[in-house]
Subunit: 241 residues, 2 copies
Amino acid sequence: MGERRVIGVLGGLGPAATVDFYAKLVAATPARRDQDHIHVIIDADPSTPNRNEAVAGVGPSPEPQLVGMATRLAAAGAEALFMVCNTAHAYAPAIRAAVAVPLVSIVEETAAATLAATPNARRVGVLAAAGAQDARLYQTEFARYDVSVVEPQGELRERFMALLYRIKAGDPTQDVRSGMRAIALELVRLGAEAVVAGCTEVPLVLAQADMGPVPFISSTDALVSAAVAIGTGARPPLNAR
Amino acid sequence: MGERRVIGVLGGLGPAATVDFYAKLVAATPARRDQDHIHVIIDADPSTPNRNEAVAGVGPSPEPQLVGMATRLAAAGAEALFMVCNTAHAYAPAIRAAVAVPLVSIVEETAAATLAATPNARRVGVLAAAGAQDARLYQTEFARYDVSVVEPQGELRERFMALLYRIKAGDPTQDVRSGMRAIALELVRLGAEAVVAGCTEVPLVLAQADMGPVPFISSTDALVSAAVAIGTGARPPLNAR
């Protein structure tokens, strides 16, 4: 058991996903009183441009805002950084180049959690946003484990993105939930042996209970586990790999 | 409509109450996309000592940690500070003396919200923790409006404090909920015309629906309203009074 560490969170990408992460982090921390918890600092800068548009080359880069959040968190004392957004990890190299504090990768944590949950799976479905797909975040990471990835493509991807924007607009209704479940099941029909919520909006509307016997891995939960382990000193502030 | 402002939050007092505040802040912000939200920075330092013990003189002062959070938030760019803990407002003068950024008072906001909700009430029940009671936070504030305050005293106060510590330990069970409701109703029996959740753990287990026709005012909700108004530029970053 090492030293406890201050956790820095790049948030607001979107805000509801950051709330979900923080709620799960507090609930997952072994604590009987306020003083047992982890020191957490969250910076949620809404001026961060849309990551999917940026990766597609049709919008400004979010790099200045992401580096800004990371820099402020480091200056405030954060000893490990966590970014509650998969797609924004397309800009992880720029953040790592700008700050000395380690940025723990949600993609690496989620892939490791998937392998731990389903060690024999050779093909996984990843509910990743357009930008995360175009940056090949999960394709590249799962390839290291010799696991192939199926993501929503074409019309399925358009439906998926429309659902993400509805969640971001504050509409996690039954309609959105059933739509998300249908897309997840379509990945299973295409051969996925497990489904990964590779976007932090997804766990706001989809859970293991919706997926029956198909293993469901939440990237939010994977990042929470890493944050608790690093914050309590059970693990060094390094990435899973 | 003024300029949007960066909101700084002193959190972790306790952590579940900060999650509750942040969740309600995000939900209450008029927003259709990530970029419509308020820039929020949260610092939750668990090394902050117990505020009730400090006010009672049987524990160390939380002043260094509270000033530390406020100082880091100001350095990170916060333009108005919000502290998600009523009792910690016993140390508001020390925070205000240490940082130039205004600290919005949860006590002033809550009293103003109470007067708005029940303009004719002359006696209100306040579910305030021992430290907030001993520092006379609500007694002093409501006196300005010529409203008297009834708080849990003696054995009732002991039961109330035991419930708060159970909530902080992560136990918001039905047992805790019914215990809290019983204490609130006891204040009504003692003449309270409205009940104020003057502790941010209370709204985690008690809501208007539990109180029937008796007006219930949540200090968390009052602080959220102030944060949204100030963050969106609808109100200057000043206290209610």
